[in-house]
Symmetry: D2
Subunit: 334 residues, 4 copies
């Protein structure tokens, strides 16, 4: 069986997913693409040799098994509802929406339609981070007690993006909140967050911060610290460390070039891989394989709608904590 | 010139200092030792071939340039006051005292006598941590924005020690609070701390926690996270990472054996150096060289009495933060 | 412009090249494939949606710019001669042939036809090894004095392959001989080789060795050591180290999982990437980009026919050295 | 019991041994020192508070258990013979002598006197190299098949030293020949060596080379490669790698500073420890502990006279191989 996909949204991440699905994922093919900008859809369609739909309705009328929702965040839920009603299995990029009511509308439609839904928290499929999570699951570090996540982008996005992104906690740290739930296997109870504008004053003018430290407490007693920054001079820094009663598991960064130069100035190694498209290639491919496998075998998708909702709530708690200068309980938000 | 030392306190750390001063530090010699347990003093005295004093007064009557106060914490200030009145240059192990009023009594006596005082925060002299601090001072990472300290002991001390230690923040994290001031070069403004009993319930019964996460905010805008545990299965884990506008500097752990074994099970490396006596040998020796140099040249000691006082205040704020579940300003404490 | 390829040979390496050219290399497309086993060709053709030729003549009658010769080694030269006469730019997998007279016949045909030829020593394009070569070219290590190559396969090939492979020096070490010429930028003068049967006695029965050490001397004074084995329990071990008057450059191995696990047993990391298809993916893609660029711009191919011939001669010298127990001059062979 | 030592020779290595024995090795003390330059002996004697002998006879008349022979190489055997006749347990620095007949005279005297003898191949006690040897002994890498030794000094010694050192093979590579016997646990059968003058033409004028590559074959089938250089811009490079049927064990270099700096220029680490006094401190101390233990318990010394002789023979074979351009059998030399 080959799982037939229609890809909704053909921007940077959508065109990447379309290419991967059509050319690099066994058991998957793209049978149509859609974008609100018709030229964008047509360019990707031509590259893959598949039809470009001009409207969402037209896209959902293409005979297919699944859709990949890669449109702009504010249109995710509309796509989700329409795809659910059309009976498609749904892959949706994160975040589902920045508005919890909207999220709940989407999830309700999915549940009503009885279709399967997967939220694209791809980092769970990164082989290095997954090794950390597996070490926890398999007891290799005993009971998890402290989780440390370092998450630094190489450079900030355009200010125009920051103005609509929902802020650093829901735009950037949302991946880390998901990682915290994934690695600890435990829900978050409280959030304490402190943020600063250090990278670019314009980010502050736009109402956001660019540097932050967050402490989460979990139901199982684990304490998580997250530090995030929108700029790291040495590349895309992505590390996860789980510490427990029997040891520690730690994912380390990736270099494109695995070579050292030793001179009288010391040892030198190249900077890190630039950004997520390079760093997380394996995670995107492995995520698709897991999704396709779930569709073929009718099993549950690896990351549920509830998994997509929870990090948004944590992000809202983090924002409130920063604004009010106090730890905030998750139960205050929901 | 040779700086003549009388070592006060001949326990584990005192006998180590006596051995280092007498045998491994150029320009230093021990001319007498004292311990409240006479047999303990006599054993060290015999090993070094120097006299053992039976009382503090007798110890301070020995013709010497400096004293090294290595007695139990609750007697530090009495020793400090007596040594100051005797005109000795003073090295005092950390913490000065668990009681701020006592600390202030000691510092006042030192100031009244006009003698020099150094507090033994030896980790500042660790070559690896020092490289991180130097990177900050020299601008190699630009402006410091986030500091991350990981500090995990291999195994908890006896419960009897924990009952009188002053608690994890003033006993163990005090080194990390000092490191935060040292590396950032900036005073702490607020403290948020969360603690858990995960290692041993008896530690909880004794009124302490054994696992904690702390967030500090600094006057210069830097955010510091500290995670501490009283037990790490893989050895003594001591890491400091400074992140800034132009890069990141990170001290890594030390292995006694620098070798790997690669088999079909993967790559293996030995555990970390066991504990501070092994890990921080270089720091103890380099600290003595800096102290002896200050005595010989009449310069300021590297770590002042005020540097000894500040981490105690941070520790008090951390305890209050944990107890009250809110961030605490340093200005609330002092 | 898109460079149109016909892929000759659809085995493991041929089908990989066809997939990469058609789907992952910008500016390239496959317009036909051929294999002596028609079903093999048809399977790849169907996967890519291109025609399968039933004969070499038919394959060369397809309108195309270039051919990729990926057939079995003993048919390379016939393909090369026919492709040259058909005016195609030629990519040929290594080795050109195990028979120098045959190699010369192929190169003569290429020269007579005036077509461009590239030999697929892909490791030159590995980003890590290339960083070592670049360090030499750019003077970062000063004058190169010693080159050290470690080249260990995870497991030996089938005995049936070893019987026709031309022996360890021309089958396996040929890559390392090419690497030695590439990194040092200097021709080889003499070869000393010692071999042993350690992995499997059947390899000895087949007339080959499975473990060897080789010393090369170069015209520029550099000394190269190569150690090769057909079996490494911990994975595919591929390292190159150039030592010179101003320093050292070293390519290190790649792990699929960049994570460590630390317990009371020490630190553990995963084994190496399994074999060349995983380890050298980037090199295959980068090689194609360089080749396509040369075709598009009419520049010289990165690796010439002479570059394909030289390592074979070194391999013959190595075999003679091992058989006769003495260093052998390259000038004795040619 | 305390083992009483007289140290013969108070130069750089002799004064280091005297200091270690007197101050840092449990169960050992120095009871006298001797040097042909009386002032040199007196300086060390004053530092330790022990008598300085004016002659060898006087030194051997001091009541002691053992001698440490640290004089210049050409006087080792005379000291050894005299110490044997005086009934002392003997520690002798390597090499015993550059003249095999002299070596045999010394070993005969030791045997006739029935005293224990240890040759100071300290690198066997380096914890990192020892971990490699232990991995072989304990079967962790299966049967050893290839041994790779990299041995690079930071800078060449004075030409005056090179003129009398016995040449690079007996002066510098002798440690590596010992390492090869130690790690493989097998005698050497043949030697192939190639040398070059790359570091300093004056070394060539003095009749020596400064850069060399050596291949050893062992009785157990193992193949060893050694590369040595008298100059490494990045510090003292000392690595040993044992490859076998079940895996690989590798000792890595030591840095004084375990820290990295990451910027847009990449990752940087400090150069290596400068030279053997820093790099091999642990080996010198551990060697003394093993020696003292052997004296106290009457067991065999860890490194015998035969172990001191064998590397000299390998060095002579290496020299002949380089001069004659062919592999040389050890049986040709002895």
């Amino acid at each position: 069986m080959t799982v037939r996909f229609v890809v909704l949204g053909c921007g940077r991440i959508g065109s990447m997913h379309a290419d991967y699905l059509h050319r690099r994922v066994a058991g998957a093919e793209v049978v149509g693409v859609f974008d609100v900008v018709t030229e964008t859809a047509e360019a990707v369609a031509a590259e893959l040799g598949v039809p470009a739909a001009r409207t969402l309705d037209e896209a959902l009328s293409i005979d297919a098994d699944a859709v990949a929702i890669c449109t702009s965040t504010d249109t995710h839920v509309d796509c989700m509802v329409a795809a659910a009603e059309a009976g498609r299995t749904i892959f949706c990029e994160k975040p589902i929406s920045l508005d919890i009511a909207e999220v709940d509308r989407g999830l309700a439609a999915v549940e009503a339609a009885g279709v399967a839904l997967h939220i694209g928290f791809n980092r769970r499929f990164d082989p290095s981070h997954k090794a950390v999570a597996d070490a926890v699951v398999h007891g290799a570090i005993g009971d998890i007690e402290v989780l440390t996540i370092t998450s630094r982008d190489p450079a900030p996005p355009p200010i125009a993006y920051i103005e609509v992104s929902g802020g650093i906690f829901n735009d950037m740290a949302i991946h880390d909140f998901d990682m915290a739930r994934y690695v600890t296997g435990s829900e978050v109870e409280s959030v304490y967050a402190v943020g600063r504008v250090r990278v670019d004053p314009k980010i502050g003018v736009a109402g956001d911060v660019d540097t932050a430290v967050i402490v989460l407490t979990h139901e199982n007693g684990c304490l998580t610290t997250i530090d995030i920054s929108r700029r790291a001079a040495y590349g895309y820094d992505q590390r996860v460390e789980a510490f427990g009663s029997a040891g520690m598991a730690q994912s380390t960064n990736h270099h494109d070039v695995n070579a050292v130069l030793a001179t009288d100035q010391g040892y030198r190694q190249s900077p890190l891989q630039n950004f997520f498209l390079e760093r997380y290639t394996a995670s995107y491919l492995d995520q698709w394989e897991a999704f396709v496998d779930a569709v073929e075998n009718g099993g549950p998708t690896p990351i549920s709608g509830a998994d997509g909702r929870a990090p948004l709530v944590i992000g809202m708690a983090a924002k409130r904590s920063m604004d009010e200068g106090r730890p905030v309980l998750i139960s205050e938000i929901v």
